[in-house]
């Protein structure tokens, strides 16, 4: 790869940035609502305001934060909280394997930062737009256009939750807006029989394994779903051959 070409591809591209923002915009409301729910949960668990602010700003992983709160409340050993967060986050290792090759040429500090803030929705939306790893102008700007507003919406929601706390009645179910945003991102990903099979298996596994310790159900769901999708895809290829 020519260094010049790389520099050109990573130059800030306002149009790609706006395109990313436009794609992610509808999810921001859901993300903010989810942040709000996590913010409220942190304060209700007994975290002080500085602790809750630090957690949302430096941890920035809603599902791991939610999983850690009951453990913190119960006074679980710190290594148990760590192990649980790692298992909840293991899907991000797969996401990073999918996303990182697109930006392998960037300096390590930038790669580290981009990885750190790449949540579920950002990864799914980016890979839908750029399925190929080949360098392309505007890729980085598009990713940032998804990522920066996503981060901001989460933090605004979360900080609002920390300060407003109990002013929002839990029965409003505001967190459901986050689930709805994820539904909208997930539906277009279900293209073809293989993906449909994977999604159904992953969903069923997540429900059946919800009681597993360390939130292992989520990881088991992703792995089983992927394997099933792959099996279906390969069987389809075989039967398609003459």
């Amino acid at each position: 790869m020519m260094p010049d070409a790389t520099v050109g591809a990573d130059r800030h591209d306002p149009q790609a940035w706006r395109e990313g923002l436009k794609t992610g915009m509808p999810t921001l409301f859901g993300i903010g609502a989810w942040g709000l729910v996590v913010g409220i949960a942190m304060v209700k668990t007994g975290l002080t305001v500085p602790q809750a602010l630090a957690m949302t700003l430096i941890v920035f992983a809603g599902s791991a934060q939610l999983a850690s709160l009951p453990l913190i409340a119960a006074g679980a050993p710190i290594w148990v909280v760590f192990a649980t967060a790692l298992v909840v986050n293991l899907r991000f290792v797969i996401f990073s394997a999918l996303l990182a090759p697109h930006f392998a040429h960037l300096p390590w500090k930038q790669r580290f930062g981009l990885g750190y803030v790449s949540g579920d929705m950002t990864v799914a939306l980016f890979l839908q737009r750029y399925p190929s790893e080949a360098p392309e102008a505007g890729k980085l700007s598009y990713l940032l256009g998804l990522m920066v507003p996503n981060w901001a919406a989460w933090q605004i929601g979360s900080i609002a939750g920390i300060f407003l706390g109990s002013a929002v009645p839990p029965e409003w179910g505001l967190g459901f807006a986050g689930t709805l945003a994820i539904i909208c991102i997930a539906v277009p990903l279900v293209a073809g029989r293989a993906a449909l099979c994977g999604v159904l298996v992953a969903g069923a596994t997540a429900v059946l394994a919800a009681g597993l310790p360390y939130k292992l159900g989520l990881l088991a769901a992703v792995v089983l779903g992927m394997v099933c999708a792959m099996v279906v895809a390969e069987l389809g290829e075989k039967s398609a051959k003459p």
Binding site: I58, I78, A85, Y116, T179, G198, A206, A229, M230
Partner: protein
């Protein structure tokens, strides 16, 4: 947990985020993933999203399976999927889903 233990826990959680999210960004070029595994990993985002959605739609607060019509989240969620398939508009779907959920919850239709 006392105060400093919570602070240590927060730091440890940040390490858990960095170690997983930034993993392949930092060491990826030293690792070659076989093409078959790569093909399989492509299904990961959809599976992860499904694994996040399904328990929220199907499980009650105590983790019990709720398949009855009284489950407002399940009904609103299914309605939202259908709505999205027809309209293909995210924001409208989120607003529609929240209205459906709130309506079902307040009116006790079922």
């Amino acid at each position: 947990m006392n105060d400093w233990e919570i602070w240590v826990t927060i730091a440890v959680l940040a390490v858990a985020t960095a170690a997983t999210r930034s993993s392949f960004w930092l060491v990826g070029h030293h690792i070659t993933i076989p093409p078959r595994i790569q093909a399989m990993l492509r299904f990961a985002p959809a599976c992860a999203l499904a694994a996040i959605i399904a328990p929220d739609l199907l499980l009650g607060p105590q983790g019990q399976l709720q398949l009855a019509l009284s489950n407002a989240k399940l009904l609103a969620g299914v309605a939202a999927i259908v709505f999205y398939l027809i309209r293909r508009n995210m924001l409208q779907t989120i607003v529609f889903g929240m209205l459906a959920f709130t309506g079902l919850r307040l009116l006790h239709v079922f």
